[in-house]
Symmetry: C2
């Protein structure tokens, strides 16, 4: 059981959800992942945070890892806000060194 | 000379710059382009408008053209704001039916 939890943790570790913190917090998280030997890091964001997710990738690429490769996928999620159903755009960016 | 201007116009016609207008304005522009027979439409945005550019693609795909294919590229541009040089993220999304 303990092993299973550990596996689940490892699977989620390489996903960074970009929200409202400063861009550099997420940049640091990406750099940390790669320096720990992670091969693929996923950056995910939705709504207004999508712009910041792109900023994170650009800063990592331009200032830290110039060999960075990325694949971008976009989508739509339904969220509920005060009883109303809203569609919100999402982005998922796969990063490899 | 008149012909040259016409060619230049045609080349730019399939690029839609997403800014601060409502999402549906840009959705309409994309639909119009495709209905006029354009094979590839490019959506470009920078900074905070990147999120809206993604919204535009998602609305076009989910509500109008379900066979829509896209390729996303991101980058950085340098802009000058009150004499200061700032880096701003950019997105370019190539759409095909």
């Amino acid at each position: 059981m303990a092993e299973k939890t550990e596996t689940a943790k490892k699977e989620n570790d390489n996903v960074i959800f970009v929200g409202k913190k400063p861009t550099m917090s997420y940049v640091l998280a990406v750099i940390t992942q790669f320096s720990e030997g992670t091969k693929e890091v996923f950056i995910k964001a939705r709504g207004r945070s999508i712009s910041r997710a792109v900023d994170v990738v650009e800063v990592v690429k331009n200032k830290f890892i110039d060999t960075l490769k990325y694949t971008i996928d976009i989508g739509t999620e339904e969220v509920e806000d005060e009883g109303k159903r809203l569609n919100v755009s999402t982005i998922s960016i796969k990063l490899t060194k």
